[in-house]
Symmetry: C2
Subunit: 445 residues, 2 copies
Amino acid sequence: MKKILILGAGLSTHSLINFLLDNSIENDWFITVGDMSLETAQKAVNNHKNGIAIQFDIDDAVYTELLVKESALVVSMLPAKFHPKVAVFCVKHSVNLVTASYVSDEMQSFDKEANEKGIILLNESGLDPGIDHMSAMKIINKLKSENAQITAFKSYTGGLVAPKSDNNPWNYKFTWNPRNVVLAGQTTAKFIVNGQYKYVPYHRLFERIEKFEVLDYGEFEGYPNRDSLKYRSVYGLDNIPTMVRGTLRKTGYCKTWNLLVQLGMTDDTYTVENSETMTYREFTNSFLAYNNSKTVEEKLAEYLKIPIDSYEMYRLKWVGIFDEKRVIGLKNATPAQILQKLLEEKFRFEEDDRDLIVMQHIFEYTTKDNKHKTLKSSLVVEGKLNESAMSMTVGVPAAIAVKMILQGKITLKGVQIPTKSEIYEPILKELENYGVKFIEEETEN
Amino acid sequence: MKKILILGAGLSTHSLINFLLDNSIENDWFITVGDMSLETAQKAVNNHKNGIAIQFDIDDAVYTELLVKESALVVSMLPAKFHPKVAVFCVKHSVNLVTASYVSDEMQSFDKEANEKGIILLNESGLDPGIDHMSAMKIINKLKSENAQITAFKSYTGGLVAPKSDNNPWNYKFTWNPRNVVLAGQTTAKFIVNGQYKYVPYHRLFERIEKFEVLDYGEFEGYPNRDSLKYRSVYGLDNIPTMVRGTLRKTGYCKTWNLLVQLGMTDDTYTVENSETMTYREFTNSFLAYNNSKTVEEKLAEYLKIPIDSYEMYRLKWVGIFDEKRVIGLKNATPAQILQKLLEEKFRFEEDDRDLIVMQHIFEYTTKDNKHKTLKSSLVVEGKLNESAMSMTVGVPAAIAVKMILQGKITLKGVQIPTKSEIYEPILKELENYGVKFIEEETEN
């Protein structure tokens, strides 16, 4: 019997855990699920005969080592910063590791030892990063095999709300970690367009959007993500003239979100005086100049140069930033924490809501007989009653990778991400059973 | 003979060193001047019989301790981050310390031990911080003694160029550390107006300006500085409804500087690809969206919503950010470093230029017989041929403090700043001999 250790049993891990439990008897696996909360772990295991739930604390290094040592493979769904604390024992005791997080410098530093020990530390094996790499590499390798010259690659992903649940003025709900959404983009975006390097500071990010049409789901807008430049070498496209990766939102979201950024409400670097007893209206006023003859609404509209009767003002009002009754009730809070608290209520994802994953790759390339073509590859996944699209698209590819490693079908060693066909081909194939199917549209320019 | 150790002999320390050398014979002082560059130290000492120049490296802790130990007082004019490396030996060997820098948390941590050892660690004893504290406290204590109620205090200072040397379109030259000017304001400004807390993020700072008339020097504009809130308790004005500290520039500067901020050119957090071989025009273009039918100038004017024939555009052109011939020539440079290199040439302070220090305090208060008054207290100091106003106003107050400590006229112990009358009264009085004289204008509202 092979032992699998899963660390972290939060909402986003249910699809992963269920997949592995469902396959455990056939494959003779025994699965230990550890979480800070024993109850959360127990809910996830749900009394499955090949699983056990345990209370787990990553700061208990002795227990962590013990658990890792007796496993054949560990899946760390902990926050990314904790992965190295797991990886160190994986290399020490020759245990494979799978994560859905970006490879950090610290993770990369385990590469040599992992190779020597003959184990794989597979990262970026979820949705984004994960399915984006796999689906992109499949197309890139196909185009390369046809001797096509790829001149542009744009790749955008969004975690959104399905049309049937899309019933608020922002066309947005939190289907994922709200803090990450509030702080999104706070690093200069770097990309390249037609050979020109482009840098967009945070305070301009939500103005530098592009429009995307995705299948019959209508129009989306995308803003560029952190460092798209480093993915040129990851994808083997070192000299590509245009490369941008970004995040998708429904049209109009970015313009209004930018107003919150302009005010300074997403700042997480200092705490607001008296934040506990202040109202949301006073909070908003603290970003506007003093003026005793104008309302907060008038001052804001003037400061941000938007008409006071605009839809953006309506969205801001709806979200509650002008509320003069609602007290913040958070002690020594940063603006970002104060904003998050308000949005968590307004952007709440209800029990009967459905989420939506949208991904689009756009390739421009020249064929070997010198035709200029554009290839759009789009994925849309809607959530189901008991399984969000986010949980499924993050968890299932990672779970398939676990299965393939334990079945000996992935033989790569060291620190890896799923950009090699040995990994992405079978995963993408199996993912089709779960509705993860890219639709390609090709046009000649 | 009392030994004084001066660490750092850069441009800004000449007035300080000369003052102490000039007073050394009368007071029986021997002065050791240490600098990374022996030549710089030698120039500063200029063969004075009571002085000696030495090569000094703050990273050589053994030598630092030796030098501190044999001194009666140390003046650290090193960058602020190095002061604790000096202070630690000052408290160990009971040696007084004077700096012109803000009290850091680390410096504050020496307070208890300095008190026990019976020494003073006097900080913020230059211009700003320094003269601003002294002159403000003098007025505050006078108003308090008259039972007046202070309702507002605004205090702004600028290091500028004298009218006779004010001959470029920005009305600005570097009379001080260029790097500090380029990075100025990159922390959220915090202040209070009529009881309302106000927070201004960096990307809005240069739009949130106020106008100031200073004597017959015309109009200036001021933008708020970092954390004005903490100075309420420093000045004993804990419940004051309005308190703002800020920086002065000539009118129009902030609007144009803001354009550089908006582009992202003052960012110091990442390096630009190919910065060594790029032209300044390409650098500017890297902050603008790709468009092959518009010029860089057209794109910039449109993006920043300024007319292409505006004076702001003229200033940007003059400064060289559209130059298509000039290559940056800096390897792996940040945007801020690239901008600084350009400005160092364009904002160069020439040998025959004169600088200008401008400071203005504005107090609003209610007298005990209920009259509402405004008191403007203004200081303007012009530089001289061999002594900049900046060097004089930073160095002389610190030097006077040194004299008074060694003469036993300042008896305070522990970590101090010059907000107590024992310190500021005699220093302000002696500073008048150097032309540091505040002009007060009072009006009844």
